[in-house]
Amino acid sequence: MARRIKLSVENLSKTFRVSAGRGAPPSLLPVLRNISFQVREGDIVSLIGESGCGKTTLLRIVQGLVARDAGNVKVDGKPVSAPGQDRGFVFQQASLLPWRSARENVEFGLELRRVPADVRRQRAAELLKLVGLGAAGEQYAHQLSGGMQQRVGLARALAIDPALLLMDEPFSALDAQTREELQAELLRIQSKTGKTVLFVTHDLDEAIYLSDQIVVLGARPSRVKTIIDVPFPRPRPPLSKLRGEPRFQQIRDEVWELISQKTAAVA
Protein backbone atom coordinates (compact mmCIF):
# COMPACT_ATOMS: atom_id res chain seq x y z
CA MET A 1 0.00 0.00 0.00
CA ALA A 2 1.66 3.19 -1.15
CA ARG A 3 0.80 6.09 1.09
CA ARG A 4 1.22 9.72 0.20
CA ILE A 5 4.33 11.59 1.21
CA LYS A 6 3.29 14.13 3.81
CA LEU A 7 6.62 15.78 4.50
CA SER A 8 9.61 15.85 2.30
CA VAL A 9 12.94 17.34 3.40
CA GLU A 10 15.39 17.73 0.56
CA ASN A 11 19.10 18.53 0.76
CA LEU A 12 18.66 20.78 3.76
CA SER A 13 21.72 22.63 5.09
CA LYS A 14 22.17 25.12 7.89
CA THR A 15 25.19 26.98 9.21
CA PHE A 16 25.13 29.30 12.21
CA ARG A 17 27.40 32.24 12.76
CA VAL A 18 28.91 32.17 16.22
CA SER A 19 30.41 35.31 17.70
CA ALA A 20 33.55 34.34 19.56
CA GLY A 21 33.48 37.34 21.86
CA ARG A 22 34.80 40.88 21.77
CA GLY A 23 37.03 41.64 18.84
CA ALA A 24 37.29 38.08 17.59
CA PRO A 25 35.88 37.49 14.13
CA PRO A 26 32.71 35.39 14.11
CA SER A 27 33.22 31.77 13.21
CA LEU A 28 30.92 29.57 11.18
CA LEU A 29 29.28 26.54 12.74
CA PRO A 30 27.83 24.13 10.20
CA VAL A 31 24.99 22.27 11.90
CA LEU A 32 23.08 20.41 9.21
CA ARG A 33 24.52 19.20 5.96
CA ASN A 34 22.51 17.89 3.08
CA ILE A 35 19.68 16.36 5.07
CA SER A 36 17.03 14.45 3.10
CA PHE A 37 14.21 12.23 4.30
CA GLN A 38 10.50 11.76 3.83
CA VAL A 39 7.57 11.13 6.13
CA ARG A 40 4.56 9.18 4.85
CA GLU A 41 1.05 10.18 5.78
CA GLY A 42 -0.04 8.78 9.13
CA ASP A 43 3.45 7.73 10.18
CA ILE A 44 5.38 8.69 13.27
CA VAL A 45 8.99 9.39 12.41
CA SER A 46 11.64 10.13 15.04
CA LEU A 47 14.75 12.20 14.58
CA ILE A 48 17.42 10.89 16.88
CA GLY A 49 21.01 11.90 17.43
CA GLU A 50 23.36 12.91 20.21
CA SER A 51 22.74 16.24 21.90
CA GLY A 52 23.89 19.24 19.91
CA CYS A 53 23.57 17.41 16.59
CA GLY A 54 21.01 19.90 15.31
CA LYS A 55 17.85 17.81 15.48
CA THR A 56 15.91 20.59 17.17
CA THR A 57 17.22 23.06 14.60
CA LEU A 58 16.00 20.74 11.87
CA LEU A 59 12.55 20.60 13.43
CA ARG A 60 12.45 24.38 13.80
CA ILE A 61 13.40 24.77 10.14
CA VAL A 62 10.49 22.51 9.19
CA GLN A 63 8.21 24.69 11.30
CA GLY A 64 9.65 27.81 9.68
CA LEU A 65 11.01 29.26 12.92
CA VAL A 66 14.59 29.09 11.63
CA ALA A 67 15.62 30.03 8.10
CA ARG A 68 17.47 27.39 6.11
CA ASP A 69 20.54 28.08 4.00
CA ALA A 70 19.87 25.56 1.28
CA GLY A 71 17.42 22.83 0.42
CA ASN A 72 13.67 22.42 0.47
CA VAL A 73 10.90 21.54 2.90
CA LYS A 74 7.64 20.42 1.35
CA VAL A 75 4.41 19.69 3.15
CA ASP A 76 1.89 17.90 0.92
CA GLY A 77 4.14 18.70 -2.01
CA LYS A 78 4.06 22.46 -1.39
CA PRO A 79 7.29 24.17 -0.38
CA VAL A 80 7.12 25.97 2.98
CA SER A 81 9.54 28.47 4.45
CA ALA A 82 7.52 30.46 7.01
CA PRO A 83 5.47 29.29 10.00
CA GLY A 84 1.97 28.21 9.12
CA GLN A 85 -0.98 26.53 10.74
CA ASP A 86 -0.57 23.51 8.47
CA ARG A 87 2.04 22.47 11.02
CA GLY A 88 1.41 22.16 14.75
CA PHE A 89 4.33 22.48 17.15
CA VAL A 90 4.72 20.93 20.60
CA PHE A 91 7.54 22.50 22.59
CA GLN A 92 10.07 20.89 24.90
CA GLN A 93 8.89 23.06 27.78
CA ALA A 94 5.15 23.11 27.38
CA SER A 95 5.37 26.91 26.94
CA LEU A 96 1.77 27.53 27.89
CA LEU A 97 0.72 31.16 28.18
CA PRO A 98 0.57 31.49 31.98
CA TRP A 99 -2.24 34.07 32.04
CA ARG A 100 -4.54 31.75 30.13
CA SER A 101 -6.47 28.77 31.40
CA ALA A 102 -5.82 25.37 29.82
CA ARG A 103 -8.87 25.85 27.61
CA GLU A 104 -7.81 29.32 26.49
CA ASN A 105 -4.35 27.97 25.67
CA VAL A 106 -5.90 25.31 23.46
CA GLU A 107 -7.96 28.02 21.74
CA PHE A 108 -4.88 30.14 20.98
CA GLY A 109 -4.28 29.04 17.39
CA LEU A 110 -7.97 29.21 16.52
CA GLU A 111 -8.17 32.70 17.94
CA LEU A 112 -5.42 33.80 15.58
CA ARG A 113 -7.57 32.50 12.73
CA ARG A 114 -10.52 34.52 14.06
CA VAL A 115 -12.63 31.42 14.65
CA PRO A 116 -15.83 32.43 16.50
CA ALA A 117 -15.72 32.00 20.28
CA ASP A 118 -18.41 29.33 20.55
CA VAL A 119 -16.76 27.16 17.90
CA ARG A 120 -13.39 27.58 19.60
CA ARG A 121 -14.81 26.64 22.94
CA GLN A 122 -16.36 23.49 21.64
CA ARG A 123 -13.23 22.45 19.78
CA ALA A 124 -11.09 23.10 22.87
CA ALA A 125 -13.43 21.01 24.99
CA GLU A 126 -13.19 18.09 22.53
CA LEU A 127 -9.41 18.25 22.47
CA LEU A 128 -9.01 18.54 26.22
CA LYS A 129 -11.16 15.45 26.47
CA LEU A 130 -9.05 13.70 23.85
CA VAL A 131 -5.85 14.34 25.83
CA GLY A 132 -7.53 13.25 29.05
CA LEU A 133 -7.99 16.68 30.64
CA GLY A 134 -11.73 17.08 30.26
CA ALA A 135 -12.08 18.46 33.78
CA ALA A 136 -9.04 20.74 33.94
CA GLY A 137 -10.05 23.31 31.32
CA GLU A 138 -10.31 26.27 33.67
CA GLN A 139 -7.01 25.69 35.50
CA TYR A 140 -4.04 27.94 34.89
CA ALA A 141 -0.82 26.36 33.61
CA HIS A 142 1.00 26.62 36.93
CA GLN A 143 -1.81 24.72 38.60
CA LEU A 144 -1.13 21.73 36.34
CA SER A 145 1.62 19.15 36.73
CA GLY A 146 4.35 18.92 34.08
CA GLY A 147 2.66 15.97 32.37
CA MET A 148 -0.68 17.77 32.29
CA GLN A 149 0.94 20.89 30.85
CA GLN A 150 2.43 18.83 28.05
CA ARG A 151 -1.02 17.33 27.36
CA VAL A 152 -2.37 20.87 27.01
CA GLY A 153 0.52 21.68 24.68
CA LEU A 154 -0.43 18.70 22.54
CA ALA A 155 -4.09 19.71 22.51
CA ARG A 156 -3.09 23.25 21.52
CA ALA A 157 -1.13 21.93 18.54
CA LEU A 158 -3.94 19.56 17.52
CA ALA A 159 -6.62 22.25 17.82
CA ILE A 160 -5.61 23.87 14.55
CA ASP A 161 -5.94 20.48 12.85
CA PRO A 162 -2.47 20.58 11.29
CA ALA A 163 -1.38 18.31 8.44
CA LEU A 164 1.79 17.63 10.36
CA LEU A 165 2.56 17.49 14.07
CA LEU A 166 6.08 18.53 15.07
CA MET A 167 7.21 17.53 18.55
CA ASP A 168 10.46 18.78 20.07
CA GLU A 169 11.51 16.38 22.85
CA PRO A 170 8.16 16.99 24.52
CA PHE A 171 8.53 14.36 27.22
CA SER A 172 12.21 14.82 28.07
CA ALA A 173 11.57 17.02 31.11
CA LEU A 174 9.10 14.59 32.70
CA ASP A 175 9.76 11.91 35.27
CA ALA A 176 10.12 8.36 33.94
CA GLN A 177 6.66 7.16 34.87
CA THR A 178 4.84 10.19 33.48
CA ARG A 179 6.93 9.96 30.34
CA GLU A 180 5.90 6.37 29.63
CA GLU A 181 2.31 7.28 30.33
CA LEU A 182 2.41 10.12 27.84
CA GLN A 183 4.20 8.06 25.21
CA ALA A 184 1.34 5.56 25.31
CA GLU A 185 -1.12 8.46 25.24
CA LEU A 186 0.55 9.89 22.16
CA LEU A 187 0.17 6.55 20.37
CA ARG A 188 -3.49 6.38 21.34
CA ILE A 189 -4.17 9.96 20.25
CA GLN A 190 -2.23 9.53 17.03
CA SER A 191 -4.14 6.39 16.06
CA LYS A 192 -7.39 8.21 16.79
CA THR A 193 -6.53 11.34 14.80
CA GLY A 194 -4.35 9.72 12.13
CA LYS A 195 -1.90 12.62 12.36
CA THR A 196 1.52 12.47 10.77
CA VAL A 197 4.15 13.12 13.42
CA LEU A 198 7.78 14.20 13.29
CA PHE A 199 9.24 13.63 16.72
CA VAL A 200 12.63 14.78 18.01
CA THR A 201 14.15 12.77 20.84
CA HIS A 202 17.44 11.57 22.26
CA ASP A 203 15.80 8.65 24.04
CA LEU A 204 16.32 5.40 22.13
CA ASP A 205 13.45 3.49 23.75
CA GLU A 206 11.11 6.37 23.11
CA ALA A 207 12.12 6.55 19.45
CA ILE A 208 11.62 2.81 18.91
CA TYR A 209 8.39 2.59 20.85
CA LEU A 210 6.72 5.49 19.06
CA SER A 211 8.07 5.37 15.54
CA ASP A 212 7.41 3.73 12.22
CA GLN A 213 10.78 5.01 11.09
CA ILE A 214 13.80 6.41 12.87
CA VAL A 215 16.03 8.92 11.15
CA VAL A 216 19.46 8.66 12.76
CA LEU A 217 21.53 11.84 12.56
CA GLY A 218 25.30 11.90 12.95
CA ALA A 219 27.35 14.33 14.99
CA ARG A 220 27.66 17.97 13.91
CA PRO A 221 27.58 18.89 11.07
CA SER A 222 25.02 16.17 10.92
CA ARG A 223 23.80 14.24 7.95
CA VAL A 224 21.36 11.38 7.82
CA LYS A 225 23.26 8.27 8.79
CA THR A 226 20.53 5.72 8.34
CA ILE A 227 16.81 5.46 8.26
CA ILE A 228 15.60 2.46 10.22
CA ASP A 229 12.17 0.87 9.83
CA VAL A 230 10.52 -0.19 13.05
CA PRO A 231 8.44 -3.25 12.21
CA PHE A 232 6.18 -3.57 15.26
CA PRO A 233 2.50 -3.50 14.28
CA ARG A 234 0.07 -1.08 15.85
CA PRO A 235 -1.54 -0.93 18.30
CA ARG A 236 1.61 -1.68 20.22
CA PRO A 237 1.86 -3.26 23.66
CA PRO A 238 3.13 -1.11 26.53
CA LEU A 239 6.80 -0.14 26.28
CA SER A 240 7.72 -2.36 29.23
CA LYS A 241 6.43 -5.38 27.27
CA LEU A 242 7.86 -4.34 23.93
CA ARG A 243 11.29 -3.94 25.51
CA GLY A 244 11.34 -7.71 26.05
CA GLU A 245 11.11 -8.45 22.33
CA PRO A 246 14.42 -9.58 20.80
CA ARG A 247 13.76 -7.40 17.76
CA PHE A 248 13.47 -4.35 20.05
CA GLN A 249 16.90 -5.03 21.53
CA GLN A 250 18.31 -5.58 18.08
CA ILE A 251 17.10 -2.21 16.80
CA ARG A 252 18.22 -0.55 20.00
CA ASP A 253 21.73 -1.94 19.64
CA GLU A 254 21.86 -0.93 16.02
CA VAL A 255 20.81 2.68 16.67
CA TRP A 256 23.07 2.92 19.71
CA GLU A 257 26.00 1.75 17.63
CA LEU A 258 25.25 4.36 14.96
CA ILE A 259 24.89 7.23 17.37
CA SER A 260 27.89 6.47 19.51
CA GLN A 261 30.42 5.97 16.71
CA LYS A 262 32.07 9.25 15.94
CA THR A 263 31.72 10.25 12.35
CA ALA A 264 34.94 10.67 10.49
CA ALA A 265 35.10 14.24 9.26
CA VAL A 266 34.15 13.76 5.65
CA ALA A 267 33.48 16.64 3.37
Binding site: Q63, L65, P83, F89, S95, L112, H142, I160
Partner: protein, 278 residues
Protein backbone atom coordinates in the same frame (compact mmCIF):
# COMPACT_ATOMS: atom_id res chain seq x y z
CA UNK B 1 9.35 15.31 60.02
CA UNK B 2 11.46 18.38 59.37
CA UNK B 3 10.10 21.46 57.62
CA UNK B 4 12.14 20.53 54.55
CA UNK B 5 10.64 17.05 54.41
CA UNK B 6 7.21 18.56 54.80
CA UNK B 7 7.84 20.96 51.94
CA UNK B 8 9.13 18.14 49.76
CA UNK B 9 6.25 15.80 50.41
CA UNK B 10 3.94 18.78 50.03
CA UNK B 11 5.35 19.31 46.57
CA UNK B 12 4.79 15.62 45.78
CA UNK B 13 1.20 15.83 46.88
CA UNK B 14 0.68 18.89 44.78
CA UNK B 15 2.14 17.07 41.82
CA UNK B 16 -0.18 14.11 42.15
CA UNK B 17 -3.39 15.79 43.21
CA UNK B 18 -4.29 19.44 42.92
CA UNK B 19 -4.78 20.27 46.55
CA UNK B 20 -3.45 22.84 48.98
CA UNK B 21 -0.92 21.38 51.32
CA UNK B 22 -0.12 22.97 54.64
CA UNK B 23 1.91 21.36 57.35
CA UNK B 24 -0.03 21.92 60.57
CA UNK B 25 3.01 21.34 62.79
CA UNK B 26 5.18 24.03 61.22
CA UNK B 27 2.62 26.61 60.11
CA UNK B 28 3.12 30.13 61.55
CA UNK B 29 0.76 32.42 63.45
CA UNK B 30 -2.87 32.51 62.31
CA UNK B 31 -4.39 35.48 60.50
CA UNK B 32 -6.57 36.19 63.48
CA UNK B 33 -3.57 36.41 65.77
CA UNK B 34 -1.75 38.75 63.38
CA UNK B 35 -4.75 41.08 63.24
CA UNK B 36 -4.98 41.20 67.03
CA UNK B 37 -1.32 42.24 67.18
CA UNK B 38 -1.90 44.90 64.52
CA UNK B 39 -4.91 46.43 66.30
CA UNK B 40 -3.07 46.44 69.63
CA UNK B 41 -0.17 48.24 67.98
CA UNK B 42 -2.49 50.90 66.51
CA UNK B 43 -4.17 51.51 69.87
CA UNK B 44 -0.80 51.78 71.60
CA UNK B 45 0.65 54.30 69.12
CA UNK B 46 -2.48 56.48 69.01
CA UNK B 47 -2.68 56.39 72.82
CA UNK B 48 0.95 57.45 73.17
CA UNK B 49 0.43 60.24 70.63
CA UNK B 50 -2.63 61.47 72.51
CA UNK B 51 -0.83 61.39 75.87
CA UNK B 52 2.40 63.09 74.81
CA UNK B 53 0.64 65.42 72.32
CA UNK B 54 -1.46 66.90 75.15
CA UNK B 55 1.70 67.76 77.13
CA UNK B 56 3.26 69.64 74.21
CA UNK B 57 2.73 73.21 73.05
CA UNK B 58 -0.25 73.01 70.60
CA UNK B 59 1.75 75.11 68.11
CA UNK B 60 4.38 72.39 67.70
CA UNK B 61 2.28 69.29 67.91
CA UNK B 62 -1.26 68.11 68.05
CA UNK B 63 -3.01 64.94 69.14
CA UNK B 64 -5.67 62.62 67.70
CA UNK B 65 -8.79 63.92 69.45
CA UNK B 66 -7.97 67.56 68.58
CA UNK B 67 -7.39 66.59 64.96
CA UNK B 68 -10.68 64.69 64.93
CA UNK B 69 -12.51 67.78 66.19
CA UNK B 70 -10.90 69.94 63.48
CA UNK B 71 -11.80 67.28 60.93
CA UNK B 72 -15.49 67.58 61.85
CA UNK B 73 -15.32 71.37 61.66
CA UNK B 74 -13.71 71.34 58.21
CA UNK B 75 -16.29 68.85 56.95
CA UNK B 76 -19.16 70.94 58.35
CA UNK B 77 -18.02 74.21 56.81
CA UNK B 78 -17.43 72.46 53.47
CA UNK B 79 -13.79 73.53 53.18
CA UNK B 80 -12.33 70.04 53.16
CA UNK B 81 -14.66 68.65 50.51
CA UNK B 82 -14.12 71.62 48.20
CA UNK B 83 -10.34 71.33 48.54
CA UNK B 84 -10.45 67.58 48.07
CA UNK B 85 -12.46 67.90 44.86
CA UNK B 86 -10.02 70.49 43.48
CA UNK B 87 -7.04 68.24 44.25
CA UNK B 88 -8.73 65.12 42.95
CA UNK B 89 -9.47 66.80 39.62
CA UNK B 90 -5.81 67.55 39.05
CA UNK B 91 -4.82 64.12 40.25
CA UNK B 92 -7.27 62.15 38.13
CA UNK B 93 -6.62 64.07 34.91
CA UNK B 94 -2.85 63.80 35.38
CA UNK B 95 -3.03 60.17 36.29
CA UNK B 96 -5.04 59.19 33.26
CA UNK B 97 -2.79 61.21 30.96
CA UNK B 98 0.42 59.94 32.52
CA UNK B 99 -0.70 56.32 32.56
CA UNK B 100 -1.81 56.29 28.94
CA UNK B 101 1.35 58.04 27.73
CA UNK B 102 3.59 55.85 29.90
CA UNK B 103 1.99 52.56 28.84
CA UNK B 104 1.83 53.27 25.10
CA UNK B 105 5.31 54.74 24.94
CA UNK B 106 6.68 51.91 27.07
CA UNK B 107 5.20 49.22 24.83
CA UNK B 108 6.69 50.84 21.73
CA UNK B 109 10.10 51.52 23.25
CA UNK B 110 10.29 48.01 24.67
CA UNK B 111 9.40 46.30 21.40
CA UNK B 112 11.06 48.37 18.67
CA UNK B 113 14.80 48.82 18.98
CA UNK B 114 15.00 51.63 16.43
CA UNK B 115 12.32 53.59 18.25
CA UNK B 116 14.13 52.90 21.50
CA UNK B 117 17.40 54.30 20.14
CA UNK B 118 15.63 57.46 19.06
CA UNK B 119 14.08 58.25 22.44
CA UNK B 120 15.90 56.35 25.19
CA UNK B 121 18.38 59.17 25.86
CA UNK B 122 15.62 61.70 26.40
CA UNK B 123 13.76 59.31 28.67
CA UNK B 124 16.85 58.82 30.84
CA UNK B 125 17.48 62.56 30.93
CA UNK B 126 13.93 63.47 31.92
CA UNK B 127 13.64 60.58 34.35
CA UNK B 128 16.69 61.78 36.23
CA UNK B 129 15.61 65.44 36.28
CA UNK B 130 13.81 66.42 39.47
CA UNK B 131 10.58 67.61 37.91
CA UNK B 132 10.00 70.02 40.78
CA UNK B 133 13.18 71.89 39.83
CA UNK B 134 11.71 72.98 36.51
CA UNK B 135 8.50 74.21 38.12
CA UNK B 136 9.44 77.92 37.73
CA UNK B 137 9.92 77.33 34.02
CA UNK B 138 6.63 75.49 33.70
CA UNK B 139 4.92 78.42 35.41
CA UNK B 140 6.40 80.73 32.77
CA UNK B 141 5.03 78.51 30.01
CA UNK B 142 1.63 77.62 31.37
CA UNK B 143 0.84 80.21 34.03
CA UNK B 144 -0.18 79.62 37.60
CA UNK B 145 -3.40 77.72 37.00
CA UNK B 146 -4.48 74.14 36.53
CA UNK B 147 -2.39 73.39 33.39
CA UNK B 148 0.87 73.83 35.33
CA UNK B 149 -0.30 71.50 38.08
CA UNK B 150 -1.50 68.90 35.61
CA UNK B 151 1.75 69.14 33.67
CA UNK B 152 3.91 68.62 36.75
CA UNK B 153 1.90 65.68 38.11
CA UNK B 154 1.63 64.05 34.67
CA UNK B 155 5.39 64.27 34.18
CA UNK B 156 5.85 62.67 37.58
CA UNK B 157 3.40 59.85 36.83
CA UNK B 158 4.77 58.98 33.39
CA UNK B 159 8.23 57.80 34.30
CA UNK B 160 7.74 54.98 36.81
CA UNK B 161 5.07 53.56 34.49
CA UNK B 162 7.17 54.05 31.36
CA UNK B 163 10.32 52.47 32.81
CA UNK B 164 8.41 49.51 34.22
CA UNK B 165 6.50 48.89 31.01
CA UNK B 166 9.74 48.86 29.03
CA UNK B 167 11.17 46.31 31.46
CA UNK B 168 7.97 44.27 31.19
CA UNK B 169 8.13 44.11 27.41
CA UNK B 170 11.82 43.23 27.43
CA UNK B 171 11.25 40.46 29.94
CA UNK B 172 8.62 38.59 27.95
CA UNK B 173 10.03 35.04 27.90
CA UNK B 174 11.46 34.30 24.46
CA UNK B 175 9.76 30.91 24.45
CA UNK B 176 6.34 32.58 24.62
CA UNK B 177 7.15 34.75 21.61
CA UNK B 178 8.22 31.48 19.99
CA UNK B 179 4.73 30.09 20.55
CA UNK B 180 3.24 33.07 18.76
CA UNK B 181 5.67 32.67 15.86
CA UNK B 182 5.09 28.91 15.62
CA UNK B 183 1.34 29.44 15.35
CA UNK B 184 1.92 32.06 12.64
CA UNK B 185 0.62 34.96 14.71
CA UNK B 186 0.71 38.42 13.15
CA UNK B 187 2.85 41.13 14.77
CA UNK B 188 -0.37 42.69 16.05
CA UNK B 189 -1.50 39.44 17.67
CA UNK B 190 1.91 38.84 19.20
CA UNK B 191 1.67 42.31 20.69
CA UNK B 192 -1.87 42.01 21.99
CA UNK B 193 -1.99 38.34 22.96
CA UNK B 194 1.55 37.72 24.23
CA UNK B 195 3.55 40.86 24.99
CA UNK B 196 0.78 42.94 26.55
CA UNK B 197 -0.57 40.29 28.97
CA UNK B 198 2.94 39.25 29.87
CA UNK B 199 3.90 42.84 30.73
CA UNK B 200 0.78 43.67 32.76
CA UNK B 201 2.27 42.81 36.18
CA UNK B 202 5.19 45.16 35.46
CA UNK B 203 2.84 47.90 34.30
CA UNK B 204 0.80 47.70 37.47
CA UNK B 205 3.95 47.77 39.61
CA UNK B 206 4.82 50.99 37.78
CA UNK B 207 1.39 52.44 38.44
CA UNK B 208 1.66 51.62 42.12
CA UNK B 209 5.03 53.33 42.31
CA UNK B 210 3.73 56.42 40.59
CA UNK B 211 0.80 56.82 42.98
CA UNK B 212 3.01 57.94 45.86
CA UNK B 213 5.04 60.25 43.66
CA UNK B 214 1.90 61.78 42.17
CA UNK B 215 0.58 62.81 45.59
CA UNK B 216 3.90 64.48 46.44
CA UNK B 217 3.99 66.33 43.11
CA UNK B 218 0.40 67.44 43.62
CA UNK B 219 1.11 69.04 46.99
CA UNK B 220 4.26 70.72 45.72
CA UNK B 221 2.32 72.16 42.79
CA UNK B 222 -0.43 73.40 45.09
CA UNK B 223 2.12 75.05 47.37
CA UNK B 224 4.09 76.86 44.72
CA UNK B 225 1.56 77.88 42.08
CA UNK B 226 -1.91 79.32 42.43
CA UNK B 227 -2.66 78.12 45.91
CA UNK B 228 -5.53 75.63 45.80
CA UNK B 229 -6.80 72.29 46.97
CA UNK B 230 -5.52 70.36 49.95
CA UNK B 231 -2.11 71.99 49.62
CA UNK B 232 -3.81 75.37 50.12
CA UNK B 233 -5.53 74.17 53.28
CA UNK B 234 -2.19 73.06 54.71
CA UNK B 235 -0.66 76.47 53.93
CA UNK B 236 -3.65 78.39 55.28
CA UNK B 237 -3.86 76.67 58.66
CA UNK B 238 -0.11 76.49 58.94
CA UNK B 239 0.02 80.26 58.58
CA UNK B 240 -2.71 80.57 61.24
CA UNK B 241 -0.63 78.41 63.62
CA UNK B 242 -3.63 76.06 63.86
CA UNK B 243 -1.60 72.85 63.88
CA UNK B 244 -4.50 70.51 64.66
CA UNK B 245 -6.48 71.72 61.63
CA UNK B 246 -3.37 71.66 59.45
CA UNK B 247 -3.12 67.95 60.14
CA UNK B 248 -6.56 67.31 58.61
CA UNK B 249 -5.55 67.86 54.94
CA UNK B 250 -2.25 66.06 55.60
CA UNK B 251 -4.06 63.00 56.88
CA UNK B 252 -6.52 63.29 54.01
CA UNK B 253 -3.62 63.15 51.55
CA UNK B 254 -2.26 60.13 53.36
CA UNK B 255 -5.63 58.39 53.11
CA UNK B 256 -5.85 59.34 49.45
CA UNK B 257 -2.46 57.72 48.79
CA UNK B 258 -3.43 54.56 50.64
CA UNK B 259 -6.75 54.36 48.76
CA UNK B 260 -5.10 54.80 45.37
CA UNK B 261 -2.51 52.18 46.25
CA UNK B 262 -5.14 49.64 47.19
CA UNK B 263 -7.06 50.58 44.05
CA UNK B 264 -3.99 49.68 41.99
CA UNK B 265 -3.63 46.47 43.97
CA UNK B 266 -7.25 45.55 43.28
CA UNK B 267 -6.71 46.27 39.58
CA UNK B 268 -3.74 43.92 39.65
CA UNK B 269 -5.84 41.15 41.15
CA UNK B 270 -8.36 41.58 38.36
CA UNK B 271 -6.00 42.05 35.43
CA UNK B 272 -3.38 39.51 36.47
CA UNK B 273 -5.67 37.07 38.25
CA UNK B 274 -3.52 34.10 37.21
CA UNK B 275 -0.70 35.26 39.47
CA UNK B 276 -2.91 35.06 42.53
CA UNK B 277 -4.02 31.46 42.21
CA UNK B 278 -2.08 28.68 43.90
Amino acid sequence: MTARDAALSGADLKESAEIDVEDIATSGPSNRELWCIRVASIIFVLGAWEYFGRQANPLFASYPTAIARSFVTLIENGELIAALITSLKTLVISFVLGTVIGLVLGLLVGRYRRFEASVDWIISALYSTPKVAILPLIVLWLGLGAPTKIFLVTMTVIFPILINTIAGVKNVPAQLIDVGDAFAASERDIFLKIILPSAIPYMIAGIRLSVGKAVIALVVAEFFTAISGLGALITKYGNMYDTATMFVPILTLMLLGVLLQSGAKAAEKRLAAWRFTD
